[in-house]
Structures are given as structure tokens and as C-alpha cells.
Amino acid sequence: MKKTVAYFAFFASTLTAHAEYRHVDLTVFGMDCAPCAHAIHVSMKGIPGVHTVEVDLNTGLVSVGLNSGSSASIRQFNEAVERNGFTHKDATIVATGKITGTAAAPFFEVSGTEDRFALQPAAAPSDLAKLLGKTVTISGTLPLAPRGKVPDTLRYTSIAEAQ
């Protein structure tokens, strides 16, 4: 419940924000001890724009909060995990960016980065035709990609036009 509220607060705060990642959650595999978690913490904090990093060793959840205006890319988060010898599952994100493509084949581009994802609804699809070309705040899941690769699909759970 706390997490939902936090997400909602984050989501609401981004309605007037710039284009960027605002929050990234990763479930990291292989961390068994405090130095493993500390290594992830240090690596994530080294990414420009990251202001908070929380690591839960028992669930493997790494929760990253970013400043407004950050240009961090999803590849940097992946590398922060991989350089320490770990892997991760899907990433849950909250990000702001532009809807491009067509109504039949929409894409989400996280401005300030080169990240571009094909949009797929996680549940009931939103009417994306009216959002084409607009800046939106979106939350969703990036599925696991092969090592060194960035996923090409974002399964969105909510999407709203940014003011």
C-alpha cells in the first residue's frame, strides 16, 4: 500500500516534469551479502541524476529514484547490475517522454536519452491515438533483455499526458 501511494505521488509529481526516468525498480539476482548490496548502491549512485537508492537484500529489490532533468538511460542501470556480477529480472519504471509512431504501432521515447520502446498494454489498452506526439508520463515494465541489450518493449500499466 505504501508503495502504491509512493508511486502515485511520484506519478503525480511527474505530470509537470521534463522527459526522463523518474523511478526504476529492479529485482536483482545473486546478492547474498552486504558488500553485494553496497556495490549495487555505489554503482547506482554513480549514475548522473540518481538521488536515492534503496537495496533490500532479502527480496533483491533495488529501488532507484532520479532527479528531474536526469538523462540516465536504462542501459546504465543494467550495467550497474552487470558490472558487479549480478543479473536482474524485469524492470519497473516511471518515466516521462513522447509518444511517437502510429496508433497501431506506438512507441515511447524517453527524451534526453536514446531509449525507445514499442508500447504494449499490460492490461486494458489506453487510447493512444490522441496522445501521439504528446509528452506523457508512463509507468510500466521493461521485460528482461539478453545480457548487454536493452529491451525493445514497454508493457505500460498507466499513461497520462504530462502538463
Binding site: T27, V28, F29, G30, M31, D32, C33, A34, P35, C36, A37, H38, A39, H41, V42, S43, K45, G46, I47, P48, V55, D56, L57, N58, T59, G60, S71, A72, S73, R75, Q76, E79, A80, E82, R83, N84, G85, F86, T87, T113, E114
Partner: protein, 285 residues
């Protein structure tokens, strides 16, 4: 800085068989450094027998080239004279350096991993004179190789490893080849599976064994100079973020060594302090 560390890791010499900063203090383990992580160890390692106590202290450093390849070096200094048998699991006065490659790394669930690490290093006699049987020998460098596999989780640890060290001959003298092995079980109680910003403790039971061949002196094998021993004892590892302290002691379970040559080794002990410096450097956008 990176080049300096690489040069140090490659050419300076040391005891890299054990991953002191992350695992057991006597036995072989699999952890290697994160990419660009620098780890430094300093500690005291002791062997006590009927002919005295031999202490070794020194500093070792490791540098992670990749998440699976680490260069390490260790420069010890020895104190005391125990006239004890050759050992590659307990540091003596030899400088060693080498590389560890984690060639198997399976991380498919939260908090668990299975991995195997192979290491290769060189062992060079330090400036200090050896004691006992070895004091009379001409000393030459050796090559050491070892392999360790293990399972690590939030609760249980299990590692097995084995190594072989062979020395070159000089003036018809030769230190004995050594086979070393270890099995380590570790456990972290439920109450201690806490957040990473609190002290992290683990307890280990460490079983180690060594067999050394005969010492060659003046072209002849020294009679009864071959030894075998098996050791068992507890150790504890405490870590807080980037510092670790670990200590343990072992007693012999089995010992086959000539008392007239080596005396009777009774106890081994170790106390090690580690500092881990992780890199925040980010390579791409």
C-alpha cells in the same frame, strides 16, 4: 592508477588462493571483485607447534578487471620460527600474485548464486630466510593453480576447492610440490539476515588438508620430509558495507609429518581485516 594496479597485480607477488574479503579465512572460495573494485586485505596468520610459533602478516590487494576477472597480489612478512612443513593454505614468507577467473556464474534467483573460479599465480621467495628444513635450501619461484566451486545464498554457503603448487629447482635443491584442498560450510542465522546497512555476520566450519612431497636437498630426497595433514575449525566473518573482519582457528584432525624434522604443529589461526572499494564509474549512457 588503473595501470599501476595492473602492473602491481601482475608483477608484484602473493597469497591469492583465498578470497579473504568475502569468504572463509582458511579455505578456497569463489568470490572475485566487481568491475573496477579494489579490495585490500591485511591480517595475521599463525601456526604454532612444538618448535615455536610462526606468524605471517602482510597486505594483499585485488583489482577487478571485469566482474569475473580479478588480479591480486600479496606481500607478507614472516615472524618467528616454527620449523614447520610447507603450506600453501597458510601464508609464509613467499610473495605471490596472480589472476582469478570466475568461469561459471549462475545467478537465477534472489540472493543465490552458484559459481566456479579458477586461479593461476606465481609464488616467489620473499627476502626473509626460511626456517627449519627449508633454511638450507636454495630457493626458486613456483607456480600455483587452484580451482574452487561453491553455492552462496542468504542462509547457506558451501565451497570446495583444490590447488597445486610446484617449485622450480636450483642447485639440486627443490621445495616440495604441494596439493591443498578445502571444504567450507557457512551459515547465517535468520536474525542476522538484515539490511545491508547493518553488520552482516556469517559463521563457517572450515576443513582443509594438504599433502607435501619430499624436499630435495643437494640432489637427494630428504628422508621422511613428505607430510600430510587435515585441519578443522570455526571462523566468523563480519562485514559492514565496505569493511570486513574475520577470524578463525583450526586444530589438526590428522597429521602425518616427521616430528624430528618439523616438530608437532598444534594449531593454526588467522585474523584478517579487509577494505573493499567499489567503483561508481559509469561507462555508457
Amino acid at each position: 592508477m588503473k595501470i599501476l594496479l595492473l602492473v602491481a597485480g601482475t608483477f608484484v607477488l602473493a597469497s591469492i588462493a583465498r578470497a579473504d574479503d568475502h569468504g572463509p579465512v582458511f579455505g578456497y572460495a569463489t568470490p572475485v571483485n566487481s568491475q573496477q573494485e579494489v579490495s585490500c586485505d591485511t591480517g595475521v596468520f599463525g601456526r604454532n607447534g612444538t618448535r615455536g610459533t610462526q606468524l605471517s602478516t602482510g597486505t594483499g590487494c585485488g583489482y577487478g578487471i571485469t566482474p569475473h576477472l580479478t588480479f591480486s597480489a600479496f606481500l607478507p612478512a614472516a615472524f618467528g620460527n616454527g620449523s614447520l612443513p610447507e603450506s600453501r593454505l597458510m601464508p609464509g614468507g613467499e610473495w605471490t600474485a596472480g589472476a582469478s577467473w570466475r568461469f561459471l556464474h549462475s545467478v537465477t534467483s534472489v540472493g543465490k548464486r552458484i559459481e566456479s573460479t579458477a586461479s593461476l599465480g606465481i609464488v616467489v621467495p620473499g627476502p626473509q630466510q626460511d626456517s627449519g628444513v627449508f633454511a638450507r635450501l636454495h630457493r626458486e619461484p613456483g607456480v600455483a593453480g587452484w580451482l574452487a566451486s561453491g553455492y552462496a545464498s542468504r542462509s547457506q554457503y558451501l565451497w570446495f576447492g583444490g590447488g597445486y603448487t610446484s617449485f622450480a629447482a636450483r642447485a639440486q635443491d627443490r621445495r616440495p610440490d604441494t596439493i591443498s584442498w578445502s571444504g567450507v560450510y557457512g551459515y547465517r542465522p535468520v536474525k542476522l539476515r538484515r539490511g545491508y546497512d547493518q553488520w552482516d555476520y556469517r559463521g563457517f566450519a572450515e576443513l582443509t588438508g594438504e599433502h607435501t612431497g619430499n624436499v630435495r636437498s643437494g640432489g637427494a630426497l630428504l628422508a621422511n620430509s613428505s607430510t600430510s595433514s587435515v585441519w578443522l575449525g570455526p571462523s566468523v566473518l563480519a562485514i559492514f558495507k565496505d569493511v570486513a573482519i574475520e577470524g578463525g582457528a583450526q586444530a589438526p584432525l590428522y597429521r602425518d609429518a616427521s616430528e624430528s624434522l618439523y616438530g608437532r604443529e598444534r594449531v593454526r589461526f588467522a585474523l584478517n581485516f579487509s577494505y573493499l572499494r567499489f567503483s561508481a564509474h559509469n561507462t555508457s549512457r
